[in-house]
């Protein structure tokens, strides 16, 4: 019964958004949809407590167990259980406002700075409870880096942007070592060639794509174990996006990467697994191929075929 009501809300949510798209396209969209729907096996339809698919993974590095997040009375994340493996790229997808960013920000406790936010449940990084009283969020964030939707370099020089993290954590013993960290980080972020002669210029003077790569360089300069990316390419053109995707590919050998994206193609290109969120619930998680070729939940299917969102 509860599932039914929630389903209704879902449709009401989804419909206006579908309508807001160019109405001329809509019938065309429906035709192939119907075809796929008929071809598929029976699908889960209701938005229930249970996540469809495989939330566990072989070599879990981050384990979130029954996580709930509230913003005041707004129950933004509801009972999400998910494991994220070492050196895997997992993509979080879902319609706007479904809680992807909220979930992501739980993983490095960035929600701490939002006064109304309250997180319950268990989140462990490498077996250690990150909301435990013995864990300092400062130490956590040195291990879990984050790249934001809008490039946000500090209004400082390119060098200082990258050097900031190592400096505050005391990662470099001397100037030469710091130089080395800055150069390797910029190199790994694929930015070194473009900026090596202008390290003293302000980071804010770079192009959007360059700024985003600078932010990635700044994040990896701290040498984290996990990188969280919240729609890192949404402000970038296709070429800059491609560069960042290559970069994610490369980084995935050393880091666990959790990426929020609105682009199904991007999720398909970069991720090993995909998690589909809907109205604060984790609806379905599975290998990327499986999700995109044969989603097991009706909502997932609707979303990836363009009926929601």
């Amino acid at each position: 019964m509860a599932g039914m009501t929630e389903m209704k809300i879902t449709e009401e949510e989804a419909m206006p958004e579908a309508r807001s798209a160019d109405s001329a396209v809509e019938p065309a969209r429906h035709r192939p949809m119907g075809a796929t729907a008929r071809k598929a096996v029976e699908r889960v339809t209701e938005l229930g407590e249970q996540t469809v698919g495989e939330v566990r993974c072989e070599n879990p590095f981050i384990v979130t167990e029954n996580v709930d997040v509230y913003y005041g009375d707004n129950h933004a994340i509801q009972n999400v259980t998910l494991e994220i493996g070492k050196s895997e790229v997992i993509a979080l997808i879902g319609p706007s406002g479904c809680g992807k960013s909220t979930y992501l920000r739980c993983l490095n406790r960035m929600n701490d700075s939002i006064e109304s936010a309250r997180v319950t449940g268990k989140i462990a990084l490498d077996g250690q409870d990150i909301y435990g009283s013995d864990l300092d969020p400062v130490a956590l964030r040195a291990r879990v880096g984050m790249v934001f939707q809008k490039p946000n370099p500090f209004p400082k020089s390119i060098y200082d942007n990258v050097a900031y993290g190592p400096r505050i954590h005391g990662l470099a013993a001397d100037r030469a070592e710091l130089d080395d960290i800055v150069h390797t980080s910029l190199d790994r972020a694929g930015l070194l060639k473009e900026v090596k002669d202008r390290m003293d210029e302000p980071g804010t003077g770079l192009s959007g794509g360059q700024q985003q790569r600078l932010c990635i360089a700044r994040t990896i300069a701290v040498n984290p174990e996990v990188i969280l990316m919240d729609e890192p390419c949404s402000a970038l053109d296709p070429i800059a996006t491609a560069r960042i995707e290559d970069l994610i590919d490369e980084l995935s050998q050393d880091y666990a990467i959790v990426i929020v994206t609105h682009s199904m193609q991007q999720a398909a290109r970069v991720s090993k697994r995909v998690a589909y969120f809907h109205l604060g619930r984790l609806v379905e998680v599975d290998e990327t191929d499986k999700i995109f070729t044969n989603p097991r939940h009706k909502l997932t299917e609707d979303y990836i075929t363009g009926r929601i969102g």
């Binding site: 964030r141 809008k150 946000n152 505050i168 954590h169």
Partner: protein
């Protein structure tokens, strides 16, 4: 669909004229308002400059003074502190106008030069004792009434009994002018002297130094306290009923009439803490209380203007709250904080009411040399002079206002320059 579209286009076009009219009316109103403001400002500055400009000049009279030993040291030994230098001046005047006779006439003659003339002669002799016995030619300030007549502030055409200069005096002045013994020069005394009962001796240095010491105290207290409070309230204080209450009170405090702060200063600093009356220290304390809310409000606004993305970036790298504040928020907010502080300071500089309450309205001749010496402040000096009956104080009042406005202008300019220079784009 097409009919509909055409219809809406017609509606838009029909309304266009009305929109343009509204815009034109609004622009005209704005221009009118600006013009009224500019005119008032022009009248204000115009009259001020017209009245005050002459105070920057002072009339001087050339005298041939004989440093006669018989006058200065009638009984043989010379005591510079008590020697009769005024007698020398009187001798010189008598020799200049040998025709003048009679007690009353001579008294009038003596009144042509300022009492400063005697002091000036003493200074001359002190610096060069060999002058004793010789005759020197020296320019001494004329008395303020002579000064007024020369500057045209006294009308010689009106009845003699109605003006402070007699016909005889006017005649002597004319003959001095003809003999090139009368000149108007830059009025250095205005900037080097403290207050005086004699307008030609009165200067603003005492008030200027009083204001300076007060502002030093105010900056030293209000800036760090204000910025620290703003940082705490913005970055660290938990949002609660208490912090809301504090916020409301700070905003209220900024609007409290300044004289109330003076009363508070009198009760707390002078009566209870027994700090000296009329001292720049107490004035500075009162003015810090006065400017504190202004600085806190401006600093909080500056902190709020720092984009949250910068904070998030720093936090996500593992910066602690303190590091975020001191490495990122503060550098970005500093120009705004400094601007707020300078605006607060210029308000403090122009404040007079609270200073009246703590005794800084006294007649003080000496230029204060420290934070606890009795002093006045520039706006209080304006008030004191504006209250004086002598015509010569009127122009000095305007001159003091011009100086005050000059400082305010410099401070506000500094605020603009700091904002322009330090504000970074992000």
């Amino acid at each position: 669909m097409t009919a509909n579209r055409k219809n809406s286009r017609e509606i838009v076009e029909a309304g266009l004229a009305r929109r343009r009219r509204k815009e034109a009316t609004f622009r005209a109103t704005g221009m009118l308002a600006t013009a009224v403001g500019v005119i008032f400002l022009g009248v204000f500055f115009g009259t001020l400059v017209m009245q005050g400009a002459s105070a920057f000049k002072q009339t001087f009279i050339k005298l041939d003074v004989e440093m006669s030993e018989s006058v200065l040291a009638p009984d043989g030994d010379l005591d510079l502190a008590y020697a009769d230098f005024d007698g020398l001046v009187r001798d010189a005047l008598r020799r200049g106008f040998p025709a003048v006779s009679g007690r009353k006439e001579r008294r009038e003659l003596y009144r042509l030069v300022s009492v400063a003339a005697g002091y000036q002669l003493r200074d001359e002799l002190t610096s060069d004792p060999s002058l004793l016995g010789s005759t020197i030619t020296i320019w001494v300030p004329a008395s303020s009434n002579v000064d007024m007549l020369v500057k045209g502030n006294i009308d010689p055409a009106i009845d003699e009994s109605l003006r402070p200069i007699s016909d005889a005096q006017a005649g002597w002045i004319e003959s001095l002018q003809q003999a090139d013994r009368l000149e108007t020069r830059f009025n250095k005394a205005l900037f080097t002297n403290g207050d005086s009962r004699e307008p030609e001796l009165a200067g603003i240095k005492g008030a200027l130094m009083g204001s300076f010491y007060m502002l030093v105290v105010t900056v030293a207290l209000a800036f760090p306290i204000g910025v620290a409070a703003a940082i705490y309230l913005e970055e660290f204080a938990p949002r609660s009923r208490w912090s809301d209450l504090i916020e409301v009170n700070i905003n209220n405090l900024a609007a409290v009439p300044s004289i109330v702060f003076g009363l508070l200063g009198l009760a707390v600093f002078i009566n209870w803490m027994a700090l000296p009356r009329s001292a720049p220290l107490v004035g500075g304390l009162v003015l810090s209380l006065l400017t504190l809310p202004v600085i806190i409000i401006a600093s909080r606004a500056a902190i709020q203007a720092v984009p949250p993305s910068i904070r998030e970036a720093a936090l996500s790298l593992g910066a602690s709250k303190m590091q975020v504040v001191f490495h990122h928020v503060l550098p970005l907010a500093l120009p705004g904080m400094l601007t707020g502080t300078i605006i607060g300071m210029s308000r403090a500089l122009g404040e007079s009411a609270p200073l009246l309450m703590i005794g800084m309205v006294a007649f003080i001749v000496d230029v204060p040399g420290g934070f606890t010496d009795p002093a006045t402040a520039l706006p209080v000096q304006v008030y004191l002079w504006a209250d004086s009956p002598e015509r010569a104080f009127a122009e000095r009042t305007s001159a003091a206002i011009i100086v005050l406005l000059g400082f305010l202008l410099i401070m506000n300019l500094a605020a603009v320059i700091i904002r322009k220079r330090m504000e970074r784009k992000w």
